[in-house]
Symmetry: C2
Subunit: 333 residues, 2 copies
């Protein structure tokens, strides 16, 4: 797709490849080898695959795990803001388990904090291994910078921010709410609401249209954005951008889905749309980005589907595999 964009719009993209996760562990013993990290730092943007491997999931005691590579990358590249736009292509209105009339018009932009919270605090065992602990932490500075990103984005959209926390229980959430209340003062035009995470988990399904920009902590963002993927019909449709002060990383929100490896069933659109986000956010190539989105849209309009977004009414011959639907997108570029 990127080569085609380069050709069409007269750019030149140069590529480098680097290992992370399970593949890196197999090759080097490390989940994120120094060489990979350097390559990323030397690049203008990173297009990311997906990490995870069932081998580690069923072995809670494994010392090296694929996810460590992902988390280290986020930390080392300072990727504190994870943007997850949730928008339904009109043609997929019936693909979701949620009723079309509830979904129609929903358009949410999530800002998930990505380098703090319980993901990066001290963790371990005590009492002879009998007790495990994970520490969650947030500093005012960490909350402030992600909040500001969310409010800035809201100013270019419907000027609504929903900040999600669990301030009735957590001290980190109380700090979160204080800081968001402070930042909000700088954006008098933006309408702000504070909601508890449990309520939002419910409201996202009950009434997704009430949301515009949602900003939340790392763990809550992890859970809520996966849930919200159902608003877009399937996880296979959702791209994300992780940005900070340096190189940005673009990745589908889905995992590595080893249960379907090699079967040609994976929906490549989340990856393709991640490349579109990359062009837009890291390179400022809005027109090129839109060209990719339009190509995906055209494929959907032509009735083609991967299995995850097909519904009962999709004719069998319109259900394509990973490569074939990729070709259809390419042809429309």
């Amino acid at each position: 797709m990127l080569d085609k964009i380069a050709e069409k719009f007269g750019h030149e993209f140069s590529y480098d490849e680097a290992l992370i996760g399970h593949a890196a562990i197999e090759a080097t013993g490390e989940a994120l080898p120094e060489e990979s990290l350097q390559k990323m730092k030397n690049s203008d943007a990173v297009l990311f695959g997906a990490v995870g491997h069932p081998k580690y999931d069923n072995d809670p005691s494994a010392k090296v795990r694929p996810e460590q590579g992902l988390l280290k990358m986020r930390k080392e590249l300072g990727l504190y803001a994870n943007l997850r736009p949730i928008k339904l292509f009109d043609e997929l209105l019936d693909a979701s388990s949620i009723k079309p009339e509830i979904l129609k018009g929903a358009d949410i932009l999530f800002f998930r904090e990505l380098t703090g919270d319980i993901y990066f605090g001290e963790k371990g065992r005590k009492n002879n291994g009998d007790t495990a602990f994970d520490n969650a932490e947030y500093s005012k500075y960490e909350v402030e910078r992600i909040a500001r990103k969310a409010f800035d984005a809201a100013m270019t959209r419907n000027k609504k921010v929903c900040s999600v926390d669990k301030a009735n229980v957590l001290e980190t959430s109380r700090l979160w709410r204080e800081v968001v209340q402070q930042v909000a003062k700088e954006y008098p035009e933006v309408q702000v609401e504070h909601q508890f995470v449990d309520a939002v988990a419910m409201l996202l399904i009950k009434d997704p249209k009430r949301f515009d920009v949602v900003v939340t902590a790392n763990l809550f963002g992890d859970i809520l954005t996966d849930e919200a993927s159902q608003i877009a019909g399937s996880m296979g449709m959702l791209a994300s951008a992780s940005i900070g002060d340096g190189t940005g990383v673009y990745e589908p929100i889905h995992g590595s889905a080893h249960d379907i490896t090699g079967k040609g069933l994976a929906n490549p659109m989340a990856s393709v749309l991640s490349a579109a986000l990359l062009l837009d956010i890291s390179f400022g190539l809005k027109e090129e980005s839109n060209a990719i989105i339009s190509a995906v849209d055209a494929v959907l309009k032509a009735g083609f589907r991967t299995g995850d977004i097909a519904d009962a009414s999709t004719p069998k011959d319109k259900i394509l595999g990973t490569d074939a639907i990729g070709e259809e997108i390419l042809n429309r570029l």
Copy 2:
């Protein structure tokens, strides 16, 4: 309802009342006064209202808050297992934002751990108040006893347990998974799966029928059960039981909903069904419990609805207020 049950089945119930949350703070300055706690301990079961008040939500620095009463009660009464049955009354199939064909037949029993995790670990501020922290902790013993409750329940149902964690990131989750794997060995007939919390947030909406018993930690359970309330059409339908070694507590899963206080809009069914759970679990009065459930069902079959469970096809005169629908239930007892 309970008086009517007593009359019909020849029992005698004696009642006591106690303050907790905002009402207790106003009256005594404490969220759970010692007197209330003693009354609970001296009772065979507690039928609980709901806590929370907007006054505290917008003041992250408040020192005494309603939720502290709830959490202290859970801890002091040793209520480590929170049961949240998610079952849709047939008549409400169209009330949900999720498609009826996705919902039909869904029947999930959640076991949420209720006295551990990040709710009860050390929390506070450091670096001159600049950083907030919350510590999550689980001991093997804590995981074992809730896991055992879940497996015991699965044996009386469809013999499937889904254990939910975030073992790819959290040490508490890795301990959780280890212990659940151990306990599972004692139940060879039960089919176990381990899922990450983000995946379950998505699967609950995509395919709720795949779940039978779900067991998870305190925070994940808080989020997932509120989300799952949409499977039952509305939070206003969901009852819960909190049990441990002493007095059991029965409460609707919804909050105190101050935005509709005094308007007669609240759906009382979650409270009514909590009384049914109380009769069943704490008193072993199965027939009496079923009588209440049948009365609720009969009211729904007769077409009556509160606003939260009405849909576009509900005739205006069938939409009743809190008291009126309560009367309808009572009349059918």
